[in-house]
């Protein structure tokens, strides 16, 4: 498809317009944090950021979501579902986080069962990506098939070049959007900008300091469920908090429960849950298939590097590095991958 140009000076105008016409989700500064929130205009948006503290996955799978509300008086039962999603634009998401949304798709729009809540949001939203300008020491998207300027999953991808944004139109949805705001998305000769973007991508791809290589890891995992490795330091130091799963853009597990104020009415809520919690798999009868941190850690990492791959033919990790940054005890997926490789080579 084609490409366009937005002058930096016009980005506020674009954001204000988008906020007026759509539900606009964009990165904002909340004290020390960078988070994706719904914004009312350009004034709240922060585009000069490296990696948001929490990924924008909440746009498609909110931490709390009402699936329906009910009223049950004993005689009559009424169930009301919420309306479908409104038109939404997710603006300024980084390529790794957008790739993560693609790992959600087969889960929620699966072969057997879809998910109306997710699909409705996904169908009604446009994703405007923003290429990275910097590589952090914790980043490793290149090793997971992505890249700092990767277009995968975006409807539009903006790349900051000098005082302009180079805009790549990737999908029909993106095309419709640039046509609707054609006074901002200028039609210009973009040959130079395209070259500059390639240069930037090349420069950034040389800046990764973490050496991660997935080759052979899945094959090792296929044949080795029990490895002494899982009884090592990682499971000893893990504190079973949910940080890694909540900050992870590809973690999609949830819990479902009712929320009532004690009268006849209430809401059924689904909310994020974490496989690192002991109660996650605890059955009512008291049996727990993953009773200790060892099984839980193994399950989480196997899910990322094997199970998701087995099931959906996609690695369940995009290399955003958030779990590496936020883990209180420095459990590091890149170290685990490298260690497993070493185990493989010695086996």
């Amino acid at each position: 498809m084609e490409s366009r140009v937005v002058n930096k000076g016009q980005i506020s105008e674009l954001l204000d317009k988008l906020a007026k016409d759509y539900n606009l989700f964009a990165p904002v500064k909340d004290e020390t944090m960078t988070l994706f929130r719904r914004v009312s205009g350009a004034q709240d948006v922060l585009l000069d950021y490296n990696n948001s503290d929490i990924s924008p996955k909440g746009c498609f799978l909110p931490q709390n979501e009402k699936t329906f509300s009910y009223m049950y008086t004993g005689d009559s039962l009424e169930i009301n579902k919420p309306e479908g999603a409104q038109k939404t634009v997710l603006f300024g998401a980084r390529p790794c986080d957008i790739k993560a949304v693609l790992t959600f798709d087969p889960v929620f729009e699966g072969v057997k069962f879809g998910d109306e809540y997710y699909s409705s949001k996904r169908e009604n939203s446009i994703i405007i990506g923003l290429s990275c300008t910097k590589v952090l020491s914790t980043c490793f998207c290149y090793a997971m098939g992505g890249g700092p300027c990767d277009i995968t999953g975006s409807d539009l991808l903006l790349t900051e070049i000098g005082d302009k944004y180079y805009v790549e139109v990737i999908t029909e949805k993106g095309q419709a959007l640039v046509d609707a705001y054609s006074q901002i998305f200028a039609k210009q000769d973009t040959a130079q900008l395209a070259k500059d973007k390639d240069e930037l991508a090349k420069k950034l791809s040389g800046e990764f300091v973490r050496k991660v290589d997935l080759t052979g890891v899945k094959e090792l995992m296929d044949n080795n469920f029990e490895l002494p490795y899982w009884s090592g330091d990682d499971q000893k130091k893990c504190i079973s908090c949910g940080i890694c799963t909540y900050v992870c853009p590809t973690c999609h597990c949830f819990d479902i429960f009712d929320y009532t104020t004690g009268d006849f009415t209430g809401d059924r809520i689904r909310c994020w849950d974490s496989c690192m919690y002991p109660e996650y798999t605890l059955e009512a009868g008291g049996h727990n298939p993953r009773p200790t941190r060892k099984e839980r850690i193994r399950n989480r990492f196997m899910h990322k590097i094997k199970y998701h791959l087995d099931r959906y033919n996609m690695v369940g990790c995009v290399g955003c590095g958030r779990c590496v940054i936020k883990c209180p005890v420095n459990i590091d997926i890149t170290k685990i991958i490298n260690d497993l490789k070493e185990v493989a080579q010695n086996a």
Binding site: V135, T138, C241, I243, I325
Partner: protein, 320 residues
């Protein structure tokens, strides 16, 4: 002269060789230059993994209760603040004194690794850290970087009460002077001065961010309940729904649950992925405990009875 890390390794080796302990819990190099991580060493050959420096933020006393039922003894490397946890765990009968060897290291303050990391060229390797008193110099293969303690230390370290471990079987390094301890209530006092609605607005803003990952609870060395009230399904006291009211209920309960036992190691505050200033809740309780009961920080001496865990006829009855 050996540096502190070498001395630590020496001592750990001795303990393991003489079979005084089966396990040494200490700090090892993490996966980032400015980060250390807990390591669990069970053989004399493994001690070379032990390190020491201003990136040893974790409170390793947290792990002691995991090994309480282990057949052999456990040695743990503690800073001053962590040592208070050891005392507290002993007082709560969570660990047995004879099974624990405390390796105390006087601590001149821990750096905030993310702040430090942001300034160092990615991919550098650490060579050495030099303590200049008011600052640290981090020497790497990509050059030397200087970090002033005022700007780069964890806040808890700026107002440290016990740089020297309050309980220790083996002490490594020299005793350090106490600095700026008097200022530790300053932040709480600032908040107390606000009007009710301003306080409410301040905390609402903080609690709204909460993800309920429970890292603050799980990292806490004195949170030792077998089943936590927040995990209980029957009855479900606090809903898993992450909204302001449930989050507020969680944070008030968490803070108050450790009232009188919280040793102010500041780990909850450090690990919070959403930067909620949790220490401001705990320190408020410490301040009130001091004001009302003249009670010192829990864990500063062995055998301290928490004013909330005992009764004396002289207790103030503020609420009557």
């Amino acid at each position: 002269m050996m540096n502190l890390a070498q001395q630590l390794q020496e001592q750990a080796k001795k303990l393991l060789e003489e079979k005084k302990v089966d396990l040494v819990i200490g700090f090892g190099q993490g996966t980032e230059l400015a980060r250390n991580t807990p390591v669990f060493i069970d053989s004399p050959e493994g001690v070379s993994a032990l390190t020491w420096g201003p990136f040893c933020a974790n409170n390793l006393a947290k792990y002691l209760s995991d090994y309480n039922n282990a057949p052999g003894g456990t040695a743990v490397v503690v800073k001053g603040c962590d040592a208070r946890s050891v005392n507290r765990l002993l007082d709560d009968n969570q660990i047995l004194r004879e099974k624990v060897v405390v390796i105390g290291v006087p601590c001149p303050g821990q750096l905030e690794w993310q702040k430090v990391s942001a300034e160092i060229k990615p991919g550098s390797t650490l060579k050495e850290v030099v303590d200049n008193g008011d600052s640290y110099t981090v020497k790497t293969d990509s050059g030397d970087y200087s970090f002033s303690k005022k700007d780069y230390l964890l806040h808890r370290c700026l107002v440290c009460e016990n740089p020297n471990p309050v309980i220790s079987d083996i002490t490594i390094g020299k005793e350090l002077p106490v600095k700026n301890y008097e200022e530790r209530f300053a932040e709480v006092q600032d908040l107390e001065k606000l009007a009710v609605n301003e306080k409410s607005a301040y905390w609402d803003k903080q609690f709204t961010r909460c993800l309920r990952c429970y890292a603050c609870r799980n990292v806490c060395s004195v949170c030792t309940c077998e089943v936590c009230v927040f995990d209980q399904m029957m009855p479900m006291w606090v809903s898993k729904r992450t909204n302001l009211s449930e989050n507020t209920a969680f944070h008030i309960t968490r803070a108050f649950h450790v009232a009188g036992r919280c040793v102010d190691c500041g780990e909850c505050d450090r690990v919070c992925p959403m930067d909620i200033p949790l220490r401001k809740l705990n320190v408020k309780i410490h301040k009130d405990l001091g004001d009302l009961f003249n009670s010192p920080t829990p864990g500063t001496e062995p055998g301290l009875i928490s004013p909330l865990g005992g009764f004396s006829p002289g207790d103030p009855e503020e609420f009557m």
